[in-house]
């Protein structure tokens, strides 16, 4: 067997890389969901000062390349703030922030999509702000948001591949290493691409299932 041949162990390597990509994707999505939703609620209640700060940060994150943000965190934090970050930490911070900014946009429009009249009804019956948010706004906003959110997450999964440039051993990085060793880019990148594809399909499928459940009240059977 020559050095440049594929070995069965390469599959394990690829799966390990996929595991790292998935772990990053899931963790940054969850963090992004919490932060992005919190930002949207701040904006919905027009919390003074905070709402403006949130809008400003979200604008910055949305309108600059993720790669640039990643470099700023990975090289900028140690250089200017003397905070050392590992590649994984830098990846988690950057991707969470980026997801949060886009989830914020979706969550804002989802919350605004809930009719004022129902909120008035809930107020009249004495529900508190928090009860209205939890029982009236959130379920409907979630049903509204799940479609665009699934689309965003499929995209964010691909975006995780950027972190390979700072040395995180994700699927793309593994693909890179295999490619350099075997010099068979077409085979390696096809395999890597297929793994991303299958994972993305899985995310979309899960989103679709979830959407059906959240939208039970608008059983729409087509024209």
């Amino acid at each position: 067997m020559r050095y440049g041949d594929f070995t069965p162990f390469d599959i394990v390597l690829l799966l390990q890389g996929l595991g790292v990509s998935l772990a990053l994707f899931v963790s940054t999505t969850l963090i992004g969901l919490v932060i992005g939703t919190a930002w949207a609620v701040i904006r919905f209640y027009r919390v003074p000062v905070l709402a403006q700060i949130v809008a400003f940060i979200a604008e910055l994150l949305k309108n600059s390349p993720v790669l640039v943000q990643l470099f700023l965190v990975f090289f900028g934090l140690p250089a200017f703030l003397k905070i050392n970050v590992t590649p994984t930490e830098a990846a988690v911070i950057t991707l969470s922030g980026n997801s949060a900014a886009f989830i914020y946009v979706i969550a804002v429009s989802a919350i605004e999509s809930v009719g004022r009249d129902q909120i008035e009804a809930a107020r009249v019956f004495g529900l508190t702000r928090w009860q209205i948010l939890r029982r009236v706004i959130a379920p409907q906003a979630a049903a509204f948001a799940i479609g665009p959110l699934t689309g965003l997450l499929v995209n964010q999964l691909q975006v995780t591949s950027l972190i390979s440039v700072i040395g995180v051993m994700d699927l793309t990085k593994v693909g890179n290493i295999l490619n350099l060793r075997t010099l068979k880019p077409f085979i390696v990148w096809t395999a890597v691409g297929a793994l991303y594809y299958l994972t993305a399909k899985l995310v979309a499928y899960a989103g679709g299932r979830f959407e059906k459940r959240l939208r039970a009240h608008t059983a729409w059977r087509g024209l």
């Binding site: 009719g115 009249d117 129902q118 008035e120 009804a121 809930a122 107020r123 009249v124 019956f125 004495g126 529900l127 009860q131 029982r135 009236v136 379920p139 409907q140 049903a143 039970a216 009240h217 608008t218 059983a219």
Partner: protein, 243 residues
């Protein structure tokens, strides 16, 4: 008692309520009549605290609705039924009715839902109890809306043009329920365009014209010479009857 005294409310340059005084005692059914834009709905929205009044005072059982601390107590005593139903679309009829009892009155969910089913049964909706609002007709939705208000066991029912989005058939579904409630002694403030119906169930009629209460008379008197002596009322009644 609901007491409205010297209430003024304007939206920008438009004065909608211009010094309104009105008292509604336990057991009364007071219909508020008047042409569109006369301030009828705004009056209801001021009583349940959805609009802040610019001047005057509104109390529900002596709880001042303009004080945030007292507003929640005032709201517990009145139930509102809306013109466009305002149901929660993601909840079934039962869940719509049971939400406020569970969240505000802390009634156990099972009990609240059982009571909701009873209420829905009393308005002829026992077989639609688990349907979502989008699966109900307008008349059925409004009946759910009435049950939702009754579920809080309010002392006063505030009805804001509850039939004006419904066709005549559905209107009569809803009105027959209101007639039953009125007979049962429920106190109601009934903003409406259904003059004949108002006449049949009301103990008193209040007539709003451009934000001013120009008549507040017992039903008999309002529809007699005394009411007709007011030119604006006579004009309104003759127009409505022609339609």
């Amino acid at each position: 008692m609901i007491s409205v005294s010297g209430v003024r409310k304007s939206f920008g340059a438009a004065t909608v309520l211009n010094g309104v005084d009105l008292e509604i005692r336990q057991g009364e059914v007071v219909s508020v009549l008047g042409s569109s834009g006369s301030g009828k709905s705004t009056l209801i929205r001021c009583i349940n605290g959805l609009e802040k009044i610019d001047a005057g005072k509104i109390t529900v059982d002596n709880f001042d609705v303009s004080k945030p601390r007292e507003l929640s107590e005032a709201r517990k005593r009145s139930g509102t039924v809306f013109q466009l139903f305002n149901l929660y679309p993601h909840m079934t009829a039962v869940q719509n009715v049971a939400l406020a009892p569970v969240e505000v009155l802390k009634v156990p969910r099972k009990q609240a839902e059982a009571e909701a089913r009873e209420l829905l049964k009393s308005v002829g909706l026992s077989d639609r109890a688990d349907a979502y609002p989008s699966q109900l007709s307008g008349g059925q939705r409004q009946r759910v809306g009435i049950c939702r208000a009754l579920a809080m066991k309010p002392s006063y029912l505030l009805l804001d043009e509850v039939t004006s989005a419904l066709d005549p058939e559905m209107t009569s579904e809803v009105l027959s329920i209101l007639a039953k409630l009125a007979k049962g002694g429920t106190t109601m403030v009934f903003v409406t365009h259904e003059i004949e119906f108002a006449r049949s169930i009301s103990t008193r009629i209040a007539f709003l014209d451009k934000g001013t209460l120009i008549a507040d008379l017992p039903t008999e008197e309002f529809f007699s010479d005394k009411g007709m002596a007011l030119p604006r009322v006579a004009q309104f009644l003759s127009k409505m009857r022609k339609d």
